[in-house]
Assembly symmetry: D3
Homo-oligomer: 191 residues x 6
Amino acid sequence: MSRYPYPDLQDLPEDLRARILEVQEKAGFIPNVFLALARRPAEWRAFFAYHDALMLKEDSGLSKGEREMIVTATSAANQCLYCVVAHGAILRVYEKKPLVADQVAVNHRKADIPARQRVMLDFALKVCQRSHEIDEEDFAQLHAHGFSDEDAWDIAAITAFFGLSNRMASFSGMMPNPEFYLLGRMPRDKK
Amino acid sequence: MSRYPYPDLQDLPEDLRARILEVQEKAGFIPNVFLALARRPAEWRAFFAYHDALMLKEDSGLSKGEREMIVTATSAANQCLYCVVAHGAILRVYEKKPLVADQVAVNHRKADIPARQRVMLDFALKVCQRSHEIDEEDFAQLHAHGFSDEDAWDIAAITAFFGLSNRMASFSGMMPNPEFYLLGRMPRDKK
Amino acid sequence: MSRYPYPDLQDLPEDLRARILEVQEKAGFIPNVFLALARRPAEWRAFFAYHDALMLKEDSGLSKGEREMIVTATSAANQCLYCVVAHGAILRVYEKKPLVADQVAVNHRKADIPARQRVMLDFALKVCQRSHEIDEEDFAQLHAHGFSDEDAWDIAAITAFFGLSNRMASFSGMMPNPEFYLLGRMPRDKK
Amino acid sequence: MSRYPYPDLQDLPEDLRARILEVQEKAGFIPNVFLALARRPAEWRAFFAYHDALMLKEDSGLSKGEREMIVTATSAANQCLYCVVAHGAILRVYEKKPLVADQVAVNHRKADIPARQRVMLDFALKVCQRSHEIDEEDFAQLHAHGFSDEDAWDIAAITAFFGLSNRMASFSGMMPNPEFYLLGRMPRDKK
Amino acid sequence: MSRYPYPDLQDLPEDLRARILEVQEKAGFIPNVFLALARRPAEWRAFFAYHDALMLKEDSGLSKGEREMIVTATSAANQCLYCVVAHGAILRVYEKKPLVADQVAVNHRKADIPARQRVMLDFALKVCQRSHEIDEEDFAQLHAHGFSDEDAWDIAAITAFFGLSNRMASFSGMMPNPEFYLLGRMPRDKK
Amino acid sequence: MSRYPYPDLQDLPEDLRARILEVQEKAGFIPNVFLALARRPAEWRAFFAYHDALMLKEDSGLSKGEREMIVTATSAANQCLYCVVAHGAILRVYEKKPLVADQVAVNHRKADIPARQRVMLDFALKVCQRSHEIDEEDFAQLHAHGFSDEDAWDIAAITAFFGLSNRMASFSGMMPNPEFYLLGRMPRDKK
């Protein structure tokens, strides 16, 4: 399906190959985004540096599960198949809630989540779809549910970064690995 | 989550109860739509009569799996959680393709389906979202992929009927049974 | 204009023919929807059973005129020629207000109707166009104007059912009978 | 309904009063637009000068009925109650087709009009809603149906002028005179 | 770029030529709108009479700069190149703020303007894009910031008139004179 | 205007400070984006690494001016004040065309650019607004105007990256430096 051929692992620069092998070791497979972007190493490095700065940092007011919830909901708004399926899987694993990814992808207003997360996703979807209309009332809503301005930045930055990712995946025909579809759906799933 | 309480099975008219028990016997649980609508028996009867006329009939140019694919894709366009999850499950079971439901729900253009089904979903989504713009070119597209005018009626009627269902489910807060989320996702799943 | 030929009355199952002749007796002509859908008797029966359950029942908090007002306003939002013209006519007859149908079809905010009906149509149009966004505030608005939860169900179900009807009429090229255009426009019109 | 009070006829400048009395003489009533705008004579004069230049000129490739058809269809797209009702009436009178105004107001694609007028309305609606996207293909469509570049200008200018009119009527709460609703609906109606 | 040739100055009726020469004298060049519309003198006269009634009158609650601000913001919403560039230039000159035109054209919510002007543009953009939804709350917003009902009329009429102008310019391919792009950008610019 | 305070230069990590001083040296001022994002060094580093990989690389089928044209047009579609003004300036400088930035920001269809660049912007705007609908026909359009698949990747990636930038700038209230507004507008401007 992908329009752009994936490079062979052995042809990649050492830093890319090392990271990819590490991911494969941990996940049991190589998520396609690592290969799809690897044909352009400079962009690949910037992409994953950005990803890690937002998604892996420890000192955030958002849990890792909440961050994946933002990715899943906004990627669904952008109709990005790769990100909905891949990050929906990670969301299920982190949150240990097998149903939540489908819920926030279809309609976050109906999802079985606390008010705090509902408001977090309202903000994320506005940044995703109408960022030029964000104003002080949106921040006030966040504050009323315990989010700080730094948390707001996290929500916005994650939304913005995966908006980039969504467009790259959709334009290039990146397909989610079959493994993602089932991941985290059984109660006994471990990360 | 549902705003409207479900009636007790024993308080229902006999015909409703019989059908519901039959479904429970077959599926192992009672899909919530059967209980959610049962508080109004006359509407319940019309709803399921319509459903059966479209979804269960044997002499259609569309397979039962294709009909569920239409439901899944158009319900996603309407952001109806109940129908995407419940009919996505039935779609997986009928088509024996564990990935297809998520694919057509997020973006049918990227789904791993033949051109015939892509065109079928294009038509369904236009009926769903811009039925007033349907014209002869839309029928010509269908004909070019082997669909008859009767098939076009089936696609349109299924889309229209589940547009009704989507609005009832969303407005009333109908939630999909947890069983649906996992159904048909393992290759070995049998109906 | 209709793509799909109408069946001959004498070829129809007895129950369809009987109802159609009864309508013709009462109205002086056969509204096209009765013939257009009759080519598929099972769907016809479900359609009119649903219609009757919603539009003819006596124990509703909505008058019959209000129900037709919902149909007219939401069908206009869906740009369905058949339903705007046919149900606009019935609305004029029921409400004995020759101007109201055109008003709610073009812009219900400018119609000469009480606040209660304005709020009723606000809710109907949201169910019609953004049912996934319906939330408790929408119900609170209805309650503030004297509508019960059962009335809300009526408004939503009528909107949902005629959303089905709109899509069937538009897709199949169903044209309103010429008689509808003038019906109820003269103050002396009787039903 | 109008937010802005209408001036008394006797308080108006002579040229306004003369024209208004002339219209009243001819139509049997004073269309509200003449009074609603008269509170600002300079704007009134420019408005009707523009109106007359477009709608009354004799040397146009568009019949007067076609011009009113453009007004009716584009005013419906702008949901302007006054213009849909008032110009729909004039359209019926000019074209001697009692059904055509409702048809083009609800969905011009389903109206019982020749292909030439369908294409004329396609162009008008694009100027109305997406004028920034008008390009050579739109002109080519018009040419293919016999319209000249001068006719294109007429279609665009009528659309643009009534877009102004629509906004003034909607913003100020201008209501159509009751007489317009029935005008031209009976085959025997004369202007 | 313009599809429609401009007439020669010497072929124009005396009143058009006189006004055009006067403008040229004052501005140093002939803004293209004067020539583009001159091929139809009756429309030209009505257009500039309307323009002058709104934009040149002295007894308005809006400064001339504020009126040009409305034109710039709503023309940007309509993606009209001619009006954004030409009226953005006049706005800079009147307001003596070299940055404000670009700001309101791209996103008036981020412009460096007082709350009063932000609310004025909110109203203008609603009249521009959703005039059928204008209601009492919109007027209340204006009143709360010191605008009268006459000011509201000014805002709406300017928006409506330039909506006409935008459509004429875009449809006909009217291009802004190069002089406009730079006008008023240097602090020392005088009118 | 910015909600988030800018850090002091002397408090920044050495690599950030060095780059910022270098930019200041070259441009004569520090573009606000360098300071606005610097409060989070890890994100800053990834952002500018991505930026440089796309915008500074030498072996692209797109000139640097064309790349800035993509940024300007898509940032206008996202109504991002900072990026329209800042990158519009750089576009004017690179292309030595003082008018082109305003043209592509308001309506690229009317801009004075060759067909090749018109098609490039059509593709960019589709990636920006409807990336889920990109299909083979879009690539065929590009190929027909001499763009390779690598060029398509460049267009998409620049659009995607600045979609991220647009959302960060709008959400955080980043304002363009006054210097950008005038840059490149005078024919004699040098970079």
